[in-house]
């Protein structure tokens, strides 16, 4: 008994330094951020102001309440539809209830969202929008191309090691250095690599990282459409953001490829042998063997990528230009500015906490939506 107590003591003693650091700088900040966000807080703690910061950030509480109710009814609808008892015999009534709940959700959201956008902090919503563009532009492209490269590398019998080292280079290169290089590659100067490449294709020079107009707007302009409605600029990523997205893809494709390659190598060979005996085509093999068996790795990479999207800061900070205005300002940039430029810790903590809640919701959603489709074997 005494021995067991000693074991416990040793175990906790070993873990103590790491646990103290992780608790103080990893978990405690969540609660602390919320506490700080309830105060006016510049250099030092000032008056308690309750939820005032949240109203300033998210907008009129009335609209936010509508939005929240909308979210709750979406959740209720998905719960209703997903009930185990109903899964096999969905009656008309249950479908009608589901449709009703969805309609109510949409109606509530359409009531809430425009009001929130109007009365809330433009930088916060712009941050969400840009982060969304950024995630949509990077994750699917990155994973698809990496999957293709990994399959090719896996099937090739030579040069695997060489390409693995090569593809990994962008990932290990210091972000600061490679971002500075891409800054000159995507500079608006006629001698920049991007513009030279563009000239080879016979296109006009672009302003790349200095361009705040959306890519769709520029494409339409190039095609000769002179008057575009303003929403074309609003609702598509700017060329500056697309340049940054290209940089991000360049960095992470190699990393994804190497990890997927490890995932592919872990698939037992007898599955492929069985498929060959059954005479399966290469697409069928990919669809029914490779994809399901590599899905845990894909899921892991998509999680890493989503978290990475919210983390993205260094390269954007370096590649952002006055010309791009706020079209590349993801949430992390907005939060940093709030603290670094405006010295408003209270409001910055409020934005950080909102971001935390959004990430939490997104992670749970991703787990629910994708987690079930991931095949973990027996």
């Amino acid at each position: 008994m005494k021995n067991k107590g000693k074991e416990q003591l040793i175990a906790w003693g070993f873990m103590a330094p790491a646990l103290i650091v992780l608790a103080a700088f990893g978990l405690f900040p969540i609660g602390y951020a919320f506490y700080v966000s309830l105060h006016r807080w510049r250099i030092k703690q000032e008056a308690l102001i309750g939820l005032e910061h949240y109203v300033r950030a998210l907008g009129d509480p009335q609209f936010f309440a509508y939005f929240l109710l909308g979210l709750i009814s979406i959740w209720a609808a998905s719960r209703w539809f997903g009930r185990r008892r109903w899964r096999h015999r969905r009656s008309l009534v249950s479908v009608v209830v589901y449709a009703l709940l969805c309609a109510v959700a949409l109606w509530l959201m359409s009531l809430g969202l425009p009001g929130m956008l109007e009365s809330g902090d433009g930088r916060l919503y712009n941050g969400f929008k840009v982060t969304f563009f950024y995630a949509l532009g990077t994750i699917p492209v990155q994973l698809t191309v990496a999957m293709m490269l990994a399959c090719v590398l896996f099937n090739s019998w030579r040069g695997k090691g060489f390409f693995r080292v090569l593809f990994f280079l962008p990932y290990v290169t210091p972000v600061i250095a490679s971002a500075v290089v891409f800054r000159t590659i995507f500079s608006p100067h006629p001698s920049s690599l991007a513009n030279r490449f563009w000239a080879i294709l016979g296109m006009e020079e672009q302003r790349w990282l200095y361009e705040n107009k959306s890519v769709v707007f520029l494409a339409l302009e190039g095609l000769g459409v002179s008057s575009c409605p303003a929403w074309v600029n609003e609702w598509f990523p700017s060329l500056a953001l697309v340049s940054i997205i290209l940089y991000n893809i360049w960095v992470y494709i190699g990393y994804d490829t190497v990890i997927l390659l490890a995932g592919l190598s872990a698939i037992p060979a007898h599955y492929y042998e069985a498929a060959e005996i059954d005479g399966a085509g290469s697409w069928q093999v990919f669809r029914h063997i490779t994809l399901p068996l590599v899905s845990p790795t894909l899921f892991f990479l998509s999680m890493v990528a989503v978290i990475g999207t919210f983390k993205a800061f260094n390269h954007i900070y370096i590649m952002r230009t006055p010309g791009a205005r706020d079209t590349v300002d993801v949430l992390s940039i907005a939060i940093f500015d709030q603290l670094f430029e405006h010295h408003d810790a209270g409001y910055a903590a409020c934005l950080a906490f909102i971001l935390f809640v959004a990430i939490l919701a997104l992670t749970l959603l991703q787990n629910r939506a994708l987690g079930k489709r991931v095949f973990y074997g027996e």
Binding site: L27, L169, T184, A262, S282, N314, A348, L355
Partner: protein
Amino acid sequence: MASEKGPPKWTRWGSYAGLVLGGIAACIPFVWMLLASFMTRGETLRKVFVPAEMQWENYLLAWREADFGLYFENSLIIAVVQVGGTLLFSLMAAYPLARMQFRGRDAVFACILATLMIPETVTMVPNFLTITWLHRQSPFAWLDSWPALTVPFMASAFCIFLLRQFLRALPGDLWEAARIDGAGHVRFLFQIVLPLCRAPLLTVGMFTFIGSWNALAWPLLVTYTSKWRPISVGLQQFVSEAGAEVHLQMAGAVIATFPVLLAYFLIQREFTEGISMSGLKG
């Protein structure tokens, strides 16, 4: 896997072309960085690819003009402290999690993993306030000095996770044999387990090194003089000040890249293997 029959010839060539194209795309920025770092100012403004003459003095100029010597030294010290601390603390935490029985083990591990889900963006603001508080309370300086730059990153959930995976796979007889010889946990960990952990420690160390070398937002926040500023901040300021001097920027980028790529090439086998492991279920 490559069976004798294999896919038709054209797909094989096509996929090789894809690989080579990918390789070229991965390399172009590096090649451009190197080439441009040897150009004259005039050459960077004309549409030149290869400099007529190698301008070695660009490096000297960038080094002197941007005070890279100081920043470089700072970054190295910060990296050594941070990597050393992270390796020690993470190994010490991973050992009981992998090989000892105690109450609350799974809960502790779950809490550690939970910190992986929280990006630095969220923790940055409160951590800055925590460090400011520590700075005021403690007898030595935190802000604008090495503790603020290293202590918050002295343990990492990712490192603990990777090391735990590795430690769990070690054979159980080792501990039995060590105990018969009269070794306690401390001696067992540092004399027997530690030398066996070479590969995962290299991986984790490299990972921490890259992270420390990359840090930008945090050093901008917690330093206000150049005394402790790392090279990332130095390069960022150099770039935003120097304006059009592309050749000097590229020379600075090469200088900042060099130590990391050197370390990578030295341990690339262990590192790629180790990182690959992280995506597999364990």
